[in-house]
Symmetry: C2
Subunit: 206 residues, 2 copies
Amino acid sequence: MDAKKVPDIIIGRLPVYLRTLRHLKEQGAHTTSSLELSRLVDVSAAQIRKDLSQFGEFGKQGTGYNIAFLIEKLLEILNIERVWDVALIGAGDVGHALAHYQGFVNSGFRISMIFDNDPVKIKQQIGLLSVQDASRMVEVIRSAGIKIAMLTVPASAAQEVTDKLVEAGITAILNYSPISLNVPQGVQIQNIDPAVGLQRMTYYLV
Amino acid sequence: MDAKKVPDIIIGRLPVYLRTLRHLKEQGAHTTSSLELSRLVDVSAAQIRKDLSQFGEFGKQGTGYNIAFLIEKLLEILNIERVWDVALIGAGDVGHALAHYQGFVNSGFRISMIFDNDPVKIKQQIGLLSVQDASRMVEVIRSAGIKIAMLTVPASAAQEVTDKLVEAGITAILNYSPISLNVPQGVQIQNIDPAVGLQRMTYYLV
DNA sequence: TAGATTGTTAATCGATTAACAATC
DNA sequence: TAGATTGTTAATCGATTAACAATC
């Protein structure tokens, strides 16, 4: 039971640190510093040190951080030493792209089931998986004990499907539907909407 | 020349308000309130009012906000009354999904060119567009005057391609590559990395 | 040792909330 | 009129930065 609650904004930066540390490691580096990381991730060095210090003393004065060690620590903190099974809901274009996405390798996640309600898509093979009938989704997810879902259904269906996912025991949803989902407290949501990302940038254009 | 600079964190919420207002409008509503919006987007009513008040007085005491009017205002503020041409770089799975994505309709964006460096993909047809040779990218983007790019190339190529995009005059990049890009000041970046989204949530799981 | 860099404190800066007068 | 809801102010809360003693 750690006393202090770590702000979510800090948690959100940790995966970016992790990604960058792995990148450095691939390039053969063994050690880095808050200053070097700062240049790579566009967060101030002081903030990186402060963020990491929430969880322990991972560095050494004078030398900085051992990259392999810090990666290990971040994996522990983020709960991704293990591999999480993920349910993918929606076998459209975005669902297919996620199913084939190589970036999940070593990220701590594996898509282990895919659902759709379109009879044409059900039974279709995507990679090693076969698309399952969404009508059995709650049952299958619950009995597999899956906690994480990626949602790539149309906006019109998203809330309804989300309610079912919650019913099935899902507690984290990566939401690709362009709509704000309503979930009970304790269920995590991360939204990915390309239009929102683009619109946020055009404010600054001319 | 508006005096006060509006914080980016506020700008980031505006597209979500816009999305929600359009949703309400589709459902036939004409008027809404900060309280109703608050329940829909998970931002406090006070904050919604404060955010909007940065740009003008759009509501009426007692009745709230006219939805159509507020949508118009947000389109103006976000600079998306017009349609922006967007260059898509990378014709892999994610690039294909974006090229076929229906969610850009009325969002203010249109993919108008696609590039890849893979000879097998060049000349391929994706929807109405034909994949162009990345070697001509800088020239083509610059002469078309395109300012916005979506980047879906592998991490290993992302920084190099980004440098070329900047050279071509791109000032806003929606980055799907799992890497932090380095760009000169004034170039906007929004990052979309599903692994980062998922890892941020697993911190809270068990 | 001298130089480098951490972890942490205190100061600053910025964002959110609560409250309410104004007014539709 | 009475009820509802805005826009805004002041208070609170939280996040970032600057600075530096500790120490590798």
